[in-house]
Symmetry: C2
Subunit: 315 residues, 2 copies
């Protein structure tokens, strides 16, 4: 788009981008998603960041990988045209996705991350002294490689002796791991492209089987402003598998509509909206937590009325 | 910008817009605000909405007034290039700015709105049965006129017999009103252009004098992602005038970085983070509250760690 050429990157909704491309090529066919809510879509709105310098742009086996230095958000990782993280605000997402399940758990030892190739979730998980091992299953090795090079503050723990890396498909990995993990974190991109299967019921069945009794999971679960139907659907089928399912939402400056949601489920009846371990302000400092705190843990599960009403049937 | 011509409206930060205009006219002089935090600025990022049809575009005595029908957010009001409200998400802002002070107050009878020409705050204030009169002081009559025409769901209460309108400057109005209001709501645009003076200490001194004992105020108070210095400064000087000052933050899809903050201050020691009157789900329905609820009232004051740390000195 023109903004790119003028030094701005614009994140269009995947369906809008498709239409814009088709229009430029003279093909005016509308996509099926037009006018209908679709996970990972935000039709009619777009967010832009000013580019200082493009640092990396290649196609991996799975997706288009772009890294640029932005004017005001540090380095930015883009996959298939969608912002994954910026150095300025990544902590908000990483801390909530990682610490909601980890602090809801009384003693997490073995942790699995599905996706998370930028290393941010790994960094947060290893702040918990109880954690003995962290396994990451990432499908796209190029994401890890570019993060090590261009997002060193996120990728800082790839050399940690507690860390195991598995390059491959999350589904395949889970089939061979049963009854093993205390916490499983799905840090995926949107349900368009390689991450699509990570938003379905059969994936959650496998997640459950991979977890020990008392295990807790968290998953990237889109935006209350944009994806209430998908969220409602996810809660509904997750409740068939887990006795406890809750949804949290918090702010995230560079994600569509400025929000991100987190699906939290437990294999027992634990109240995941309350941290099992609370933090003093000294502990917050020593763990270098810039977003998460014990009060915010519970507050993130308190949702606006329109969200409560939309999720009422599924909750 | 090109996006406008292609059917998209792009909201640049006022300082970026200035630079883009200067660059197009061959003048590359940088603004003073460059690289420095400025209230009402969000350099290096931009938000866009797809336009279906431009409905109104004129210059008033004070500002550029644009209304368009968007593809996915209903009708949108833009003042001086900045999104003020969209029909799809306006309730989030209106309900929080209005109901945080109104529900923190045990019995609000006389309410003043400074700004608020679109009518959304007025609509929310009049949902409180205790309210006997609402006065609005709006500087720009054109905002009221276009809202009546293009935002009828917001402007629906301008004919209410409890409503009094004063067209003029907030400062001037306040000088002649002492010890009069239970709740005062400042629903201003950003501190660039006509609303600049509404972010200073002398304005808050006048607000305080206009309020009865036990009075509570709320003000639009920018974004935790973008304006921590301004917020910290506002809290600092407001605390010199009011015994109770608190800051709440919540999500707002079409405002910069997807967040909006609310400064709440009380003339007595009341804990404004707790509603003085709580709502049942029946009351929420009968008041048609789509965002606010009693749990969210308190949760909105629970802030991320980086915000707590930045405001620590001032709080």
């Amino acid at each position: 788009m023109d903004l790119l050429q003028k030094g701005w990157f614009t994140e269009f909704s995947p369906d809008d981008l498709e239409k814009i491309k088709k229009t430029s090529s003279g093909d005016s066919k509308q996509l099926k998603s037009d006018g209908k809510e679709m996970g990972g879509a935000w039709p009619g709105q777009a967010f832009s960041l000013q580019i200082e310098e493009v640092l990396f742009h290649e196609k991996s086996k799975y997706q288009d990988v772009l890294v640029f230095k932005s004017k005001t958000y540090g380095n930015v990782l883009i996959l298939d045209g969608i912002i994954q993280c910026t150095e300025r605000d990544e902590f908000a997402y990483q801390e909530m996705l990682a610490h909601l399940p980890l602090f809801a758990h009384p003693n997490p030892k073995k942790v699995l991350i599905i996706g998370g190739g930028d290393g941010g979730i790994l960094r947060e998980v290893l702040k918990h002294a109880s954690v003995e091992s962290v396994t990451m299953c990432e499908i796209d090795e190029m994401v890890i490689d570019v993060s090590k090079k261009y997002l060193p503050g996120m990728a800082e723990q790839f050399g940690n002796p507690k860390f195991n890396l598995f390059i491959g498909d999350g589904f395949e990995f889970l089939k061979n791991h049963k009854n093993e993990f205390d916490v499983v974190i799905t840090d995926s991109s949107d349900p368009v492209g390689p991450a699509e299967s990570l938003f379905g019921q059969s994936y959650y069945q496998l997640l459950s089987e991979s977890m020990k009794n008392g295990g807790i999971l968290s998953s990237q679960a889109e935006s209350v402003w944009l994806h209430l139907e998908l969220i409602s659907h996810m809660i509904e089928f997750t409740k068939k598998i887990f006795p406890t399912v809750q949804y949290a939402s918090s702010i995230m400056s560079t994600y569509p509509s400025g929000t991100m949601g987190y699906l939290i489920a437990s294999k027992d009846n634990r109240d995941v909206t309350k941290p099992a371990r609370t933090l003093t302000s000294e502990e917050i400092k020593s763990m270098n937590l810039k977003f998460y705190n014990s009060e915010l843990h519970s507050a993130a599960f308190i949702l606006p009325t329109f969200v409560n009403q939309a999720l009422q049937g599924s909750k």
